[in-house]
Amino acid sequence: MAWTEKEQQELDKILKKYPPDRKLSAVLPALYLAQREKNWLDNDDIQAVADALDIPVTHVHSIIGFYTLFRKEPTGKYMVQVCTDLPCALRGAEDFYRRFCERMGLPPTGGTTEDGLFTVESVVCLAACDKAPMCQINLEYFESLTDDKIDQIIASFREQAKIQQ
């Protein structure tokens, strides 16, 4: 992957936040940038981050392995992350999640829908425990959900994906 001109500008801006001899600090923001286009990182993306920061590619791999928000495999266009941690679970989030998976045609543990649009998974606390059940879709917050509400949200993302095609 080569950085687009816009990405290169953003990268330069990111690097300015850290001391000139501390480029490594930019590894997470650079990975976010590299992941933005298709929602996951292939080997070229990873190499591009390593090259941009003058660091070994193995280091970039270890970083990706450590942090949960980077992905080395294709996922759905929309990552739907439903919190089922204790505070949310005390307000019915586990059952909510199971019903949601079922309506999405997925096993109770989640997965990617056949059309490749949605990857559904359950995650730990997202700092919105008072608004359970809740989820993040590509990190946007959706709170105080009901079955109907999340179905409508999913439908609107389906629409959005159609328009973008």
């Binding site: 501390r22 970083i63 942090y67 941690d85 204790l86 307000r91 730990v124 606390c125 700092a127 425990c129």
Partner: protein
């Protein structure tokens, strides 16, 4: 709403003043006046002193006095850094997100005052990766406004003092809330804890003197500087002064954030603020510090919520994330959920935590799947005994009190699951466990 105990919000000022996230509104309501006062009338040391005198304690969990921490920063080493902990990942905690979303300027002003106090010219706010929208839509805008108005950047308000404030997002790892892991993460490493000493005050970010404080801690600083330590001490107790945000979640009617004076009874939070328990059920257990809590029973409802009283009640205040269990909740299930959380978040650096959480999850599963034995309950106790005091950082230590108190308070529920007389299915062999430690 449940707030007769303070006449005005100190931290959640957006609940009193609409649109205080806009710099004009913030300025029209005392905003940035503490900074003006500090730059015009106070030496950096005076700022540290007033914060010391206020008795403000860190809101990230440990409750260490903020002014004392700032006092540890060596004078003659440059550069120095201020790093704001916005990792907020303890299950049940959701207060920093509200501050950053609705009252960001008060946090920013607090950061600038802190930098001035300790002589730092660069600050970073480290937020958990999942806060990307909060940073993008709220904080970033507020920071840009602060730059435009000359509160950040070169020669702030015409003074000699200059500083830069940068936002930095993590990427999904609870351990990055631990201050040394956070620094490693900010330096571009895996977020694994470092040994202390050296403490960050001496060797922190890029091995330079660094103050690390929680979002809520620093949001207290502007009103303290503006109104003084005596004003601040009108709330709270002698040893735990001020107001605190209590994140209330679980089986209550009105979960949410409530700002109350430290020293308010737990009962007030649950009943007056939270509107009592769903369907009028009885309280079964309280986790005052999120998943890391020692659980306390309903006999402790009159305990006051301050650092001392909570410790005396056998638990801790921590970040004040009160998760409420009622009589309908399966205690073993709840304990298992938290253990799974810690297994998921263990950074893997030390074996007592990495292996301990692994085995705990296995034994819990065995119990809950219906082939547990009495020995398995003992095994849980053995595992936490062996983790206790032996983990590299506090994450591993946090696992212990939840399991310990869950078994102590609800032993009958554990024993009811110990159905089999002896091993019926191959469970984790005990002698194997010992070889791991």
């Amino acid at each position: 709403m449940g707030n007769e105990l303070i006449d005005k919000y100190v931290l959640f000022r957006h609940r009193d003043v609409e649109n205080i996230h806009q710099i004009e509104v913030y300025r029209a309501n005392d905003g940035y006046r503490a900074l003006e006062k500090a730059l015009k009338e106070m030496q950096p040391g005076d700022v540290t002193n007033v914060v010391k005198a206020s008795g403000l304690r860190g809101r990230g969990g440990a409750g260490f006095p903020a002014g004392v921490k700032w006092g540890f920063i060596p004078k003659d080493i440059y550069p120095k850094y201020v790093v704001v902990n916005a990792d907020e990942s303890e299950p049940g905690t959701f207060k920093d997100r509200e501050i950053m979303t609705y009252n960001p300027h008060q946090l920013i002003e607090g950061i600038i005052l802190t930098c001035y106090a300790v002589g730092a010219e660069t600050a970073y706010i480290y937020g958990r990766g999942e806060f990307a929208p909060v940073f993008r839509d709220h904080l970033q805008q507020a920071v840009a406004e602060a730059y435009r108005h000359g509160y950040l950047g070169r020669n702030i308000l015409g003074s000699e003092f200059s500083m830069e404030l940068h936002l930095h997002l993590g990427a999904g790892a609870y351990i990055c809330g631990e201050e040394t892991a956070l620094l490693s993460s900010l330096e571009g490493q895996m977020g694994q804890p470092r040994s202390r000493p050296p403490f960050p005050a001496v060797e922190g970010l890029y091995a330079k003197p660094t103050v690390i404080n929680n979002v809520e801690t620093l949001t207290n600083v502007p009103p303290i500087v503006l109104h003084g330590s005596d004003w601040y001490r009108q709330y709270g107790t002698e040893k735990s002064p001020g107001t605190k945000i209590f994140s209330l979640s679980g089986r209550v009617n009105k979960p949410g954030n409530y700002e109350l004076p430290l020293g308010t009874p737990i009962r007030y939070l649950i009943e007056e603020c939270g509107g009592g328990i769903i369907d009028g059920k009885a309280v079964k257990g309280i986790l005052p510090a999120g998943a890391s809590s020692a659980i306390i029973g309903p006999d402790k409802l009159d305990t006051t919520m301050d650092y001392e009283a909570m410790a005396a009640a056998g638990t801790m205040l921590g970040s004040a994330s009160f998760i409420i269990l009622d009589e309908t909740v399966d205690a073993v299930w709840a304990a298992e959920k938290n253990v799974k959380f810690f297994k998921h978040e263990s950074c893997g650096k030390c074996s007592p935590c990495r292996e301990g959480t692994f085995w705990l999850v296995n034994v819990f599963r065995k119990l809950r799947e219906g082939h547990g034995t009495k020995q398995d309950v003992e095994l849980l106790e053995t595992i936490i005994e062996q983790m206790k005091g032996n983990t590299f950082c506090l994450l591993g230590e946090f696992v212990v009190p939840g399991v310990r108190t869950s078994i102590d308070l609800f032993r009958d529920e554990y024993e009811a699951l110990a159905v089999a007389e002896e091993e019926t299915t191959p469970g984790p062999a005990k002698d194997l466990i010992h070889t791991f430690f």
